[in-house]
C-alpha cells in the first residue's frame, strides 16, 4: 500500500523505442539490473550497508510433484477438429521454399483453397447452372456421335413399336445433339492436378477455352467477389496462425472457496465440439484434483474465447466472452449453489476483451475491435468510455483493445498494442493519464507490442502487469511510465495468458505466464513488499529467484502407454493443440504448501500439475539455492492410472465418432474396367480351398510350401478359345468346301493358329513378370504382419480386434465378392513401402502407365491396412516363397 521509500535507480528518456538490442535468447539471465540499499533481512546487522538486487534475489522453491501434467477431466465427448496448420494454407513447392528462405514472406495457397471451395460446396458454387447444364455434359468414355442418322437409328431402335405417324419430337433431338463430351476436359484437369506446382506448365488450351467461355456465367457467386472474400479469409487465417489474439486472457478460471481450508473449488471451462458449452465443475483437491459430481452446463451461441472471474463481496462474478456475445454469471460463495446467469450483451464487431471488476459487484469492462471501450454494469447497463479506431501512441494496424480495472473503481485502464492509458469513467474525455508506453520510457525494443495487460490488485492494489512478446513489466500506477520491474521472459511465443497467485505477508507473489501455440508455462516470482518482517515497510519491487518452466500438456505424451503409430500421431496432435487458458491456486496447509496449475487446450482438455513448496530452504534467504529436487522421472501410480483412463475415454470417443472411420472404403471403378471385375460368379472350389489353407497357415504362422504338389497338379492352362459353332474342324472344312469358299477357310485357319500361338507366348511372358512382382509384394506383406503383432502386444488401448485372444476369423464363403476390400483388416500398418509404389516398380509389374497413379492412390489408401494376400491362381504358387 505504501509507496516504497526508495526506488531502484534508472534512466528515464522519452521517445521511440531503441533500435538496437535484438531479442536475445538469453536476455533474461545473469543480470542484477540495479542494486539498492535494502533491508538486510532477518537477524543480519552488519557494518556495511546491505544491498538487494532488482533481479536475482532469492525466491521460494517450488518442486514439481509429478513427472508431467495430469488430465483433470475426462476428454470432451465428440471429436476435435484441429485448427488449420501452416501447411494447410501455404503454397508449397521448391520455388516458394527458396523465396521463404529469403524471408520475403509466406505465399498463401489461394488456388487450392478456391478449388476446395468448389469441391466442398458444389451446390453453392454452381448449383443452378449445374442443374441447367447437366444434360448437356457427357462424362462417359464412349464416343459421342452427333450426326443425325445415329440419333434417328437410336430412336428407331429404342422405340420399335412406334406408330408410323409418330415423328421424333423436336424437343429430344436438340437435347442429344447439344450434348458435348467433357471427358477430355476432365482428364486435362486431372493432368493439371498431377503437375501442380510447376510454374512453367502450359495450360491445356482446352481448359483455357473453357474457362474463358464460362468464367462469367458458370459461377453462382461472381468469381471476383468470391475470390476477394476467400482471400480475405485466408489472410485472416494466416494472421491468426501467426498470432491469435482472440484467445488473450484465456478461457479457464478457478474459483476458490471462501473457506481456504476446504480443499474444493470450482473450475470454469469451455467444452463441447465447438467449445460453446460453459461448464462449472466442482473439484476436490487431493494429491491430484478430481471432479466431484457432474458439472453445471450452459450452451452458448458462440465459441468461448475468454472466461474471466473476480470475487467481490464473497461472490464470484464470471464473465464469458465469445466473438459477438458477452455474458456474466454469478456464483454464490457457498458451495453447492448453482451459478446464475445475469446478463448477456451482443456486439456488432467482435469483442476483444472482457474483464470483471474486483471492486464492485456486477461490473465489467468490454472492448471491441472497433476500438470502443465500455463499462458494463449489470444494473445500469453499458457506458461507453472511449471510441477510437486509432491506436494511442503510434500507428499500429491491430484492432485489438484491452481494458482492466485499477486501484480506483472508477478508473479503468485501456490498452492497445502501443501502450496503456488510464481513464476516469466519470469524465473519460478529460481525465486520463499514460500508464505505459512502448518506447524509450520503459526501455522497449523496436517492434515490441503489448500482448496482455493485467491488474495485479490481489497482490498489490496499485500494481499492473504488462507482457509483451519480449518482456514482462510490473508497473505501479502511482509512478506511471517507469516500470518497477522489467524482465526478458525468453518465451518462444508471446505470453497471452497470465495468472497471479498473491503471496501473503513474507511470501513472494507468483505469476504464471502462458503462451498459446507452444503451450509454454513459466512461473516467475516477485517481491512486492519487504520480506523480512510481517508488516514491514514497503520496498521496491524485486524479481525473486529464477523463472521456472512448468510442464506443458504435450509433455505427458512420453509417459502415456505406447501407441500404434497413427494413434500416437493423433494423440500428439490432440495433446499438442494450442493452449487456450490458464488458472492456478495455492493451497496452504500448515507448513505444507502446494500450488496447482491448470492448463486448458483448444481441444477442451484440462490438465493440471502440482508443485510443492520447499519450506525448509526458504527460511535461509541469501543462500544460493541448491539444485532443487529433480522432477520425478516416472509418473506416480495414481497419475499413470489417470493417463490410462483418459486414453481409454479418448479412444472410445474416437471409435464412436462417425468422422473417424478406421476402415476406409474405396471405389474400384476407376482401377479396373467392368469387364475385368466381371469374373466367375463365385470363387472356384480350388480358390476356396487355397484361401482356407492360406488362412490356416496364417493363423499358425507356418509355411505354405506344401502347397506345391497340389498347385502343380491343379495347374490350369488357359483353354484355347473354341472356334464358334462348336463343330469339329473336319465338318467345318467340309461345310466351307461345300459352300465354295474353302480358300477362305484355310486362310482363317492358319491365321487363327498364329494368333493362338502369339497369345500363348504373350500370356507366358506376362505370367513371369507378375510372378516376379508378386514375390516382393508378398514379402512386404508378411513383414508388415509381424510388425503389427509386435505392436499389438505393446499397445494398451489398441482396438479390441487386435488383441491376441481374438476368435479365428470365419473362413470366407463364396458370398463375398472376389476382390472386395478386406473388411476386417486391422486398421494399422506402417507407411507403405516406397518401393512398392514407385512408378518404376509399377511399370516393372506391367501395369499400364495411365493406371499407375490410380493404383498408387489406391495402395496408399490401403496402406492403412495391409492388403489381403493376393489370391493367386494355382499356376503361380510354385514360384512362391513366403518366409514364415
Amino acid at each position: 500500500m505504501e509507496f516504497p521509500a526508495a526506488l531502484f535507480p534508472s534512466y528515464f528518456g522519452a521517445g521511440p523505442p531503441r533500435e538496437e538490442d535484438g531479442s536475445a535468447p538469453a536476455a533474461g539471465w545473469g543480470e542484477h539490473g540495479q542494486v539498492l540499499q535494502g533491508d538486510p533481512g532477518p537477524g543480519r546487522r552488519k557494518a556495511h550497508p546491505a544491498f538487494v538486487p532488482r533481479r536475482g534475489g532469492t525466491g521460494e522453491i517450488w518442486d514439481p510433484a509429478e513427472a508431467a501434467a495430469v488430465p483433470v477431466l475426462p476428454p470432451s465427448a465428440g471429436c476435435w477438429i484441429p485448427s488449420p496448420a501452416p501447411q494447410d494454407i501455404l503454397y508449397r513447392n521448391s520455388l516458394c521454399k527458396k523465396v521463404r528462405a529469403c524471408k520475403s514472406g509466406a505465399t498463401l495457397d489461394f488456388a487450392k483453397q478456391l478449388g476446395h471451395f468448389f469441391v466442398d460446396h458444389p451446390e453453392d458454387a454452381f448449383g443452378s447452372m449445374g442443374r441447367l447444364l447437366h444434360k448437356n455434359f457427357y462424362l462417359g468414355n464412349s464416343k459421342l456421335t452427333v450426326s443425325v442418322s445415329p440419333v434417328v437409328a437410336v430412336w428407331a431402335h429404342t422405340v420399335p413399336c412406334a406408330a408410323p405417324t409418330s415423328v421424333p419430337s423436336s424437343l429430344q433431338r436438340p437435347a442429344r445433339s447439344s450434348t458435348i463430351r467433357m471427358t477430355a476436359l476432365m482428364e486435362d484437369i486431372d493432368r493439371l492436378e498431377a503437375r501442380r506446382g510447376c510454374h512453367r506448365q502450359h495450360l491445356a488450351s482446352r481448359l483455357r477455352w473453357f474457362s474463358h467461355l464460362c468464367r462469367d456465367w458458370l459461377f453462382e457467386v461472381p468469381l471476383g467477389l468470391l475470390a476477394d472474400c476467400l482471400h480475405e479469409e485466408l489472410m485472416l487465417q494466416w494472421s491468426d496462425l501467426l498470432f491469435d489474439d482472440s484467445l488473450t486472457g484465456g478461457a479457464l478460471a478457478w474459483l476458490a472457496p471462501e473457506d481456504v481450508g476446504s480443499h474444493t473449488g470450482l473450475l470454469v471451462h469451455p467444452g463441447g465440439q465447438a467449445m460453446n458449452h460453459l461448464f462449472f465443475q466442482d473439484m476436490v483437491l487431493e494429491e491430484l484434483p478430481r471432479a466431484r459430481g457432474s458439472p453445471v452446463q450452459f450452451e452458448l451461441s458462440g465459441r468461448i474465447r475468454q472466461v474471466a472471474a473476480a470475487r467481490v463481496d464473497g461472490e464470484d462474478f464470471v464473465g464469458v466472452r465469445s466473438d459477438y456475445h458477452c455474458g456474466v454469471w454469478r456464483v454464490a460463495g457457498r458451495t453447492g449453489t448453482a451459478p446464475t446467469p445475469l446478463q448477456v450483451i451482443h456486439t456488432d464487431v467482435p469483442a476483444t476483451c472482457l474483464t470483471v471488476s474486483p471492486h464492485l459487484p456486477g461490473e465489467l469492462a468490454v472492448c471491441t475491435q472497433s476500438g470502443t471501450i465500455y463499462l458494463w454494469n449489470v444494473e445500469t447497463r453499458l457506458q461507453q468510455l472511449r471510441s477510437d479506431p486509432q491506436t494511442m501512441f503510434f500507428r499500429d494496424h491491430s484492432p485489438w483493445r484491452w481494458s482492466d480495472f485499477t486501484a480506483h473503481p472508477r478508473v479503468l485502464s485501456c490498452a492497445d498494442r502501443t501502450g496503456l492509458q488510464c481513464l476516469d469513467a466519470r469524465a473519460p474525455k478529460k481525465c486520463h493519464f499514460d500508464l505505459f508506453k512502448v518506447g524509450e520510457e520503459a526501455g522497449c525494443q523496436q517492434g515490441e507490442r503489448v500482448v496482455l495487460p493485467m491488474y495485479l490488485g490481489r497482490a498489490h492494489p496499485s500494481q499492473y502487469l504488462v507482457t509483451t512478446q519480449f518482456s514482462v513489466y510490473v508497473l505501479d500506477e502511482r509512478l506511471p511510465l517507469v516500470p518497477m520491474l522489467k524482465w526478458a521472459h525468453m518465451m518462444k511465443a508471446p505470453p497471452v495468458f497470465a495468472h497471479l497467485m498473491p503471496g501473503g505477508p513474507g511470501r513472494s507473489h507468483k505469476v504464471v505466464l502462458g503462451a498459446s501455440p507452444t503451450q509454454e508455462l513459466l512461473l516467475m516470482q516477485y517481491w512486492g513488499k519487504s520480506w523480512s518482517s510481517g508488516g514491514g515497510s514497503q520496498s521496491a519491487c524485486q524479481l525473486a529467484g529464477t523463472p521456472q518452466k512448468l510442464h506443458s500438456i504435450v509433455e505427458c505424451l512420453e509417459y502415456l502407454p505406447t501407441q500404434l503409430p497413427h494413434r500416437h500421431h493423433l494423440l500428439q496432435e490432440r495433446l499438442g493443440a494450442p493452449a487456450a487458458g490458464l488458472a492456478g491456486t495455492v493451497l496452504e496447509d500448515g507448513t505444507h504448501n502446494s500450488m496447482l496449475v491448470f492448463q486448458l487446450s483448444e481441444a477442451g482438455d484440462v490438465f493440471c500439475q502440482r508443485l510443492t513448496h520447499e519450506a525448509a530452504q526458504a527460511e535461509l534467504p541469501q543462500e544460493p539455492c541448491a539444485s532443487p529436487q529433480p522432477t520425478p522421472a516416472v509418473p506416480s501410480p495414481a497419475a499413470a492410472l489417470r493417463y490410462r483412463r483418459w486414453l481409454r475415454a479418448l479412444s472410445r470417443g474416437y471409435m464412436e465418432s462417425p468422422q473417424h472411420t478406421w476402415l476406409p472404403s474405396l471405389s474400384q471403378r476407376r482401377l479396373f474396367t467392368r469387364k475385368e471385375l466381371e469374373g466367375p460368379m463365385g470363387p472356384s472350389a480350388l480358390q476356396r480351398q487355397v484361401r482356407q489353407w492360406l488362412r490356416q497357415v496364417m493363423r499358425e504362422g507356418g509355411r505354405i510350401q506344401h502347397w506345391e504338389p497340389v498347385a502343380l497338379q491343379s495347374l490350369v492352362l488357359p483353354q484355347p478359345p473354341e472356334p464358334e459353332g462348336g463343330q469339329d474342324p473336319l465338318s467345318t472344312r467340309l461345310t466351307a468346301a461345300w459352300s465354295g469358299d474353302w480358300e477362305q477357310w484355310w486362310e482363317d485357319r492358319s491365321s487363327f493358329n498364329m494368333a493362338q500361338r502369339q497369345r500363348a507366348l504373350r500370356e507366358r511372358r506376362r505370367r513371369q513378370k507378375r510372378a516376379r512382382g508378386r514375390r516382393s509384394l508378398s514379402a512386404s506383406f508378411t513383414s508388415s504382419l509381424t510388425y503389427q503383432s509386435e505392436l499389438s502386444e505393446l499397445s494398451d488401448a489398441g482396438p479390441p480386434l487386435l488383441s491376441p485372444s481374438r476368435p479365428p476369423l470365419p473362413s470366407q464363403e463364396g458370398s463375398s465378392p472376389p476382390r472386395s476390400p478386406p473388411a476386417r483388416s486391422p486398421p494399422t500398418s506402417p507407411a507403405p513401402d516406397e518401393a512398392l509404389l514407385s512408378s518404376q516398380s509399377l511399370r516393372y509389374r506391367g501395369i499400364p502407365k495411365e493406371r499407375r497413379k490410380t493404383l498408387r492412390d489406391y495402395l496408399s489408401v490401403w496402406a492403412e491396412g495391409p492388403p489381403e494376400p493376393p489370391e493367386l491362381p494355382g499356376s503361380q504358387a510354385s514360384q512362391l516363397c513366403i518366409p514364415s
Binding site: M1, E2, F3, P4, A5, A6, L7, P9, S10, Y11, F12, G13, A14, E20, D21, G22, A24, P25, A26, A27, W29, G30, E31, H32, G33, V35, L36, H48, P49, A50, F51, V52, P53, G56, D313, H359, L360, A407, H408, P409, R410, E441, G457, H460, P461, S462, R478, L479, P480, L481, V482, M490, T546, P547, Q548, K549, P624, C625, S627, T631
Partner: protein, 412 residues
Amino acid sequence: SSYDHKLNFRKSKEACLSYIQDAMLQKQWKRAAEFLTSYIESLEKDYSREHVGPSEMIWRIGTEILCHHSHSSMKEFNCFIEQMKISGVKRYLKVCLEHVFHLLCNGQVDEAYQNLSLAESWRFGDQTAIQDKEMKLIQAYKGLLDYYSWSKQKNILLEHGLDGFADLSVEQEMHSCFRKAAVNLKEIIKIPGVWDPFVKCYVDLLEFYGDHNEALQVLNEYAYNSRFPANPNAHVYLYQFLKRQGESKKSLISALKILHDIVPSHELMIDFNTMLQKSKKRKKRRLGLEVIFAALDYAGWKENVKAWSCLARQVKQIVISEKHLHWIKEEWSSRKDWWPAFHFSRYLAKRNWQKNKSLSYEKALVAGILLGKDCKYFKYISHQGCKAQVKRFRMLKKFVNRHNPVFLRISD
C-alpha cells in the same frame, strides 16, 4: 562447402543453446553447466553478425549458472567475470557494473569499490551513448559507496567527538570522501531518471555541511523538472526536507498539494488531511475533506482505520456545526452511485465487524450520515454494537438518529 558448414554449425549452436535454456528453466544448473562448456566452442567460430553474439550469451548464462550452482564459489565467479570482461569491448562497462552489483549483494563492498575505480578509469576510443550512461552509473555507484564510507567516518567522529577526542586524519578522510561522493552524485542527478538513493545521499551530504540552498535546489529540480518522471518520492523527499528545515505550514501544504495532485492515494495524505483540518482557513478545511474522500476512493485504503477516522471526524464536525454541509454534498454526489457497493455493503459490514471493530465504528458513522439510518452497513453495525453492549456504538446510533435530517439534505 563452407556455407553448409556454417549452417550446420549454427544449427548445432542453436540446439545447444536450447538445451541450456531448458536445463536452466528447470533449475538443473549442473546439466546447464555441462552444456555451456560445449557451447563455449561457438566463441571460436563466431561467424555471426548478429547483435547479440555468443560471448554475451556465455556471460549471461555463465553468470546465472554460477549464481545458483551448488559448487560455485565467489572466487570462481570473479575469475569467470574477469574473463568475460576481456571478451567484449562493447560490453566491458556493463559486465563491470553487474560484477559490482554481485559483489555488493554478497557484502563485498571493498572489492566492489576497487572494481568501480578500475572501471571508471577505463577508456576505449569513442564511447557510445549507452556506454556513456553506464559510465555515469559506475561513477554514481562509486559516489554512493564514498557516501557510505563518509557516513561511517562521520559516525566514528561523532562518537569520539562526544568522548572529547578529535581525530584530524579521520576528519580529513571524511572530507575527502565527501568531495568524491558529491562530485559523482551531483553528476548523475542532473540526468532525467529515477535516482532516489543518490538524491537522498547527496541531500544528506549537503545538509551536513549546511548547504541548504543547494539541497533545496536539488530537491526542487528533482521534483519539478518536467523531463523527470513524476516520481512521488521526489515530492516526499522535498516535503521531508522542508519539514526538517522547519519551514512554514504554507510551504509544506503546497508541497503536499502537488503530491496529492499526482498521487491522491499516497500515504502522506493522512498527514496532509490532519494538517488541513487544523487550519483556520475554510478553503483549506474544504481541501482536507476532498483529500480524504479522494484517498478513500482507492482499493488500498478500504480498510485503513486512520483514514476512516479522519473522514469520520471531519464529517462529524461539519454535521455538528451544520455549516458547510454542501461540502459533503458535493463530494458525495460523484460517489453516491458506487460508494455504497464499494464500502458499505452488508458483506463488508459483517467482515469489518468480525475483523476490526474500530474500523466498523468509523465506517458506520460515515455511512449513517451519508446514507441515513436505514443504510445496511449502519444498521448491521449498530445492531451488532448494541447487542455487544458497547457504549460507543449506542452513542453512535443516537448521534446518527439525531442527525438523520442531514442525510436528507445531502441526498436530495
